[in-house]
Symmetry: C2
Subunit: 233 residues, 2 copies
Amino acid sequence: MKNYSKYPKYLVAVDCIIFGYDIQKKILKLLLVKRSFEPAKGSWSLAGGFVKEKESLDEAASRILRKLTGISNVYMTQSLTYGDTDRDPGARVISTAYYALTGISAIDYELVKDNGAHWRSVDDLPKLIFDHPRMVKKALADLQNLVKVKPVGFELLPEKFTLVQLQELYEAIYQKRIDKRNFRKKILSMGILEKLEEKEKETSKKGAWYYMFNEERYLKLDRNGFSFNLDVS
Amino acid sequence: MKNYSKYPKYLVAVDCIIFGYDIQKKILKLLLVKRSFEPAKGSWSLAGGFVKEKESLDEAASRILRKLTGISNVYMTQSLTYGDTDRDPGARVISTAYYALTGISAIDYELVKDNGAHWRSVDDLPKLIFDHPRMVKKALADLQNLVKVKPVGFELLPEKFTLVQLQELYEAIYQKRIDKRNFRKKILSMGILEKLEEKEKETSKKGAWYYMFNEERYLKLDRNGFSFNLDVS
DNA sequence: CCAAAAGTGTTTTCTCTACACCCATGT
DNA sequence: ACATGGGTGTAGAGAAAACACTTTTGG
């Protein structure tokens, strides 16, 4: 082997699994698009695109997310890379999946609509192209494991949220009921939530106290060996 | 967008983080090679190579591992993909990292030597090229998380092993002492080990009973909702 | 008979689970 | 005054942690 010139080159893409939580309907959703080019034009697909000359994979994923939704500064993390020879019938494409977490309300609704994108409940997805179903399945499993062990659930909620809303989020992710008292005891005992002097009054007469995630507190605890853990009954 | 033709193409590689456990010395090692081509010829590197036209990423990783060590049928799993624009000074290369688990004694020693490869203790690694140090760091963290939650530790041991050896393996991975009685109680209570009527007599006069991992038993338990868990004190 | 490593149980502490009623308020 | 959703504590079971001595056998 002398140098790199004799080796083949391939198209390299990223595909984004964009999770959004619908706090009103209490369901976890995925942002999907109708593909605008061949092959499989018009089919449902994850948001994706090819990696440009001057950008890293991470940057490509951020660019695609931003173009579609108008948001940046979102929790986004790399999942697997899919490289089967025939995964895309158009050409050999190596695609790295990323998944992102956001609240649905944070999204620029007009932009999403203009891009032909739609939110779909994770347990009622349309048929997706290529190996995108595998990507989604893997990302969902990753997410379920991740929220147990890192405080990323808050990324799916607005900055201020009630404990009821937080619990509903976990119930939506796990697809399972959680005991209210145990959940509150556990999450509050971690000392990473801050209670505000303000109530959410839309959904009940009594109102529910707002809380915020205190990231500095979490980081400090984490450095001192504390580990976030939210296995739920 | 009409088709794929106007998008750039890149070299695509895989790099293998090959973990080996030295059961005699009780240390976790990595198989490293001296790079045989420019750039950075002669430097220490992970085993890697470019992906061929007719092979998937997984197949490329298996091929590279097999060529270097002579072994197949090894536990190997995909880690992250590294795609910074300047990660390889020779050209833009997108590289997917894989990590593999094996016992050092299972390896074809001659083949390894002929390939200029060497086993190095994970806590005494030489300077590695490019972003390979990041890859190693990430793979090590992945491994530590993985062995807690999946019975992959056995992949690093010979088929027959003693409980002492199993414990020493976990101590090497975690870099931490474990209580003997609690460890044995926990692992045996899972019911996935099979005691053989045979003792290992090299390391003590009394001898220690050999055990084997019973994979079918594990898979059955796993299907029934049991989850492997080995958080150690 | 002794050195060296293997093997073995019990008590205490902590964490997890199950479970039901009172509170605040808008209408 | 009542309907609606928010908020709270405790007892019992089970898991994790701490801990020290006995067994075997080759030399």
